[in-house]
């Protein structure tokens, strides 16, 4: 054992164990500074990466089930992270209360009418997504509480499996030997067997050979009927051609009518001329009437003059008669 009071300065590590290195202390100091810089820088970088230096606003999402939501997970908008889950707790009403820090610079994407969904896929973790239909809406207020809509693919699995099970059971029932489908297929087989018989598909469809023969006979009759109808149609064509000739030929009704119309048109032109003349005559008559009216106005004075003349003539005659020797005495002499 070494004496307890042995002086420490007698110990020189360089003599024994530590290897010689040039500028050892400088290099060691460099390494220590590098270590300190890396540690400090990395801590600062992690703080920055976790949003410690960002100005944020709170958003609270209420979910019926918070499974899959973890602290630190992102809230994305159009695939870009805009917020980060800071805290998850069970609220008083029994719902999951998810507190999210939304960076102020990204808060513009969230509006009062934004919708938030929590989606769980079969592969990968849950995803919190925000949808904003109207970016002109009011901004989402700080501390807003919103309900989360759920879009869970795994929750559909039990229902999907139950439906699949029912579907498989139905399929199993359908494909069993005594099922309707099997009976239908047997019928189809019988039908196809008949269709491959002498009467072919017609025999298969009509059920018996006799019916098939009747059908063939009916077809023959129908063919004969069609042939007679064909002759009738030819006759109808000829009749129509004749009627066409009568109507639209050179001596047809239409041509004659056209000529009559031309003549009528000429007559009407004459009538129009006559009417114009009558119109002129009427105009003249109107003028004559006007003149007659003026003449009628002078007739009274003329009559007065005539009457005066007649009276003078009468007086003259009377005078002559009186003067005439053979004149009679018109006076009646009373006794």
């Amino acid at each position: 054992m070494a004496p307890p009071d042995a002086p420490e300065e007698t110990v020189d590590p360089r003599d024994d164990l530590a290897p010689e290195v040039r500028h050892a202390e400088l290099k060691a100091a460099t390494l220590l500074v590098l270590l300190a810089a890396i540690v400090a820088g990395f801590v600062l970088y992690v703080l920055y990466a976790r949003g410690a230096f960002e100005s944020v606003q709170k958003l609270v999402l209420m979910a019926d089930d918070g499974a899959g939501v973890t602290v630190g997970m992102d809230l994305t908008f159009s695939g870009f992270p805009v917020g980060r889950v800071q805290r998850i707790e069970l609220a008083a009403e029994g719902k999951a209360r998810i507190e999210i820090d939304v960076a102020k610079k990204d808060a513009k994407w969230l509006r009062a009418s934004s919708v938030f969904t929590l989606e769980r896929s079969l592969v990968g973790g849950a995803r919190l997504r925000a949808f904003t239909g109207n970016l002109e809406d009011k901004p989402l207020p700080d501390g807003a509480v919103r309900q989360v809509l759920r879009g869970d693919a795994t929750e559909e699995l039990p229902g999907l499996i139950a439906t699949m099970k029912r579907l498989l059971e139905n399929l199993d029932r359908m494909t069993s030997t005594d099922s309707n489908l099997s009976a239908s297929i047997a019928n189809v087989r019988a039908l196809t067997d008949r269709m491959t018989g002498p009467q072919g598909a017609l025999g298969g469809l009509l059920g018996s050979e006799e019916n098939a023969k009747k059908a063939v006979l009916a077809l023959d009759r129908a063919n004969a009927l069609l042939a007679s109808l064909d002759g009738l149609a030819a006759r109808m064509d000829r009749a129509l051609a004749r009627a066409d000739e009568k109507l639209f030929g050179d001596q047809g009704v239409v041509e004659e009518g056209r000529k009559v119309a031309v003549q009528l048109n000429a007559v009407l032109a004459d009538v129009r001329e006559s009417l114009k003349k009558a119109d002129a005559v009427l105009a003249d008559a109107q003028k004559i009437g006007a003149n007659t009216k003026a003449a009628t106005e002078d007739l009274a004075s003329l009559r007065a003059e005539v009457e005066a003349s007649l009276r003078r003539v009468s007086l003259l005659i009377d005078d002559i008669n009186r003067r005439w020797p053979f004149g009679r005495d018109t006076e009646v002499k009373l006794p």
Binding site: A6, E8, L31, G72, V123
Partner: protein, 264 residues
């Protein structure tokens, strides 16, 4: 006839277990003493500082380029594998997460600890054992020997583990960014966000604690194994392997406890 060898075998096993227990106890006690001494400012005399600096240069400075190149290569290979696989399964968002959790948090610290232990720790353990044998009446034992000769070497190795782990992790993260986004600066936001999501405060503290325990183990266990070696020449060759085995066990335990605390 069969009972005697069995009893002897059991006795030998008990002796070996007892020896192992003693060795572990000595190692723990030495590690505690070394930790206390390393955290005491009065320890860092000029001589101790010089010896620690030289050991740090040997353990870290000389191998720094190699470690950087190895971490860069390993990081690039792993991120390409992880990102292409994740992309095929539509899980590209988790590529950085997986890369950081596997390579940066687990493999690089373990690799660096083993590398320093094999390169410097084994040599140190052998030197300590040789020192004990070559001196008939060693005066440098106990607290003074710890402070004067062994502690600077242990501190140098421990700090080398811290330095190389930090440098290797940063190089791997930088290479992962290049592997994912090339030299484009536009992946920075997404990458930072992924890094921020992985390095939660508790995980970061656990990572720091794990690397510190690795460093303490690498710094203390080889020396403790050398001190525990027999004071004769045949015991010298066994000192380094024993120390390395103990070190591997301790590193595995620390790693297992770290993983269990994080994921179980």
């Amino acid at each position: 006839m069969q009972a005697i060898p069995s009893r002897r075998a059991l006795g030998g096993l008990g002796i070996r277990l007892l020896e192992s227990g003693r060795g572990a106890w000595r190692g723990l006690r030495f590690a505690g003493d070394a930790l206390v001494a390393a955290l005491s400012p009065s320890t860092y005399t000029a001589a101790v500082r010089g010896a620690a600096a030289r050991q740090l240069c040997v353990s870290a400075w000389q191998v720094l380029p190699g470690v950087v190149a190895f971490c860069a290569l390993l990081g690039y290979v792993v991120i390409r594998i992880v990102s292409s696989t994740a992309h095929e399964y539509g899980l590209s968002a988790y590529a950085v997460d997986v890369f950081v959790r596997v390579l940066v948090l687990e493999l690089i610290p373990l690799f660096v600890a083993l590398f320093v232990a094999l390169r410097s720790g084994a040599a140190l353990g052998t030197e300590v054992a040789l020192m004990r044998v070559s001196r008939e009446n060693p005066v440098r034992t106990g607290a003074r020997a710890l402070r004067a000769e062994l502690l600077p070497r242990g501190i140098g190795n421990a700090v080398a583990v811290l330095c190389l782990t930090a440098v290797g992790a940063v190089v791997a993260l930088a290479v992962a960014y290049v592997g994912l986004y090339g030299f484009s600066p536009w992946g920075h936001d997404a990458y930072s966000r992924a890094i921020g999501q992985v390095f939660e405060p508790l995980l970061l503290a656990g990572f720091a604690l794990k690397v510190s325990l690795f460093a303490l183990a690498v710094g203390a266990i080889p020396v403790a194994a050398g001190l525990a070696a027999a004071r004769d020449w045949p015991g010298v060759p066994q000192a380094a392997p024993r120390g390395l085995v103990r070190l591997f066990v301790v590193l595995a335990l620390v790693e297992a406890v770290s993983l269990a605390a994080r994921y179980v």
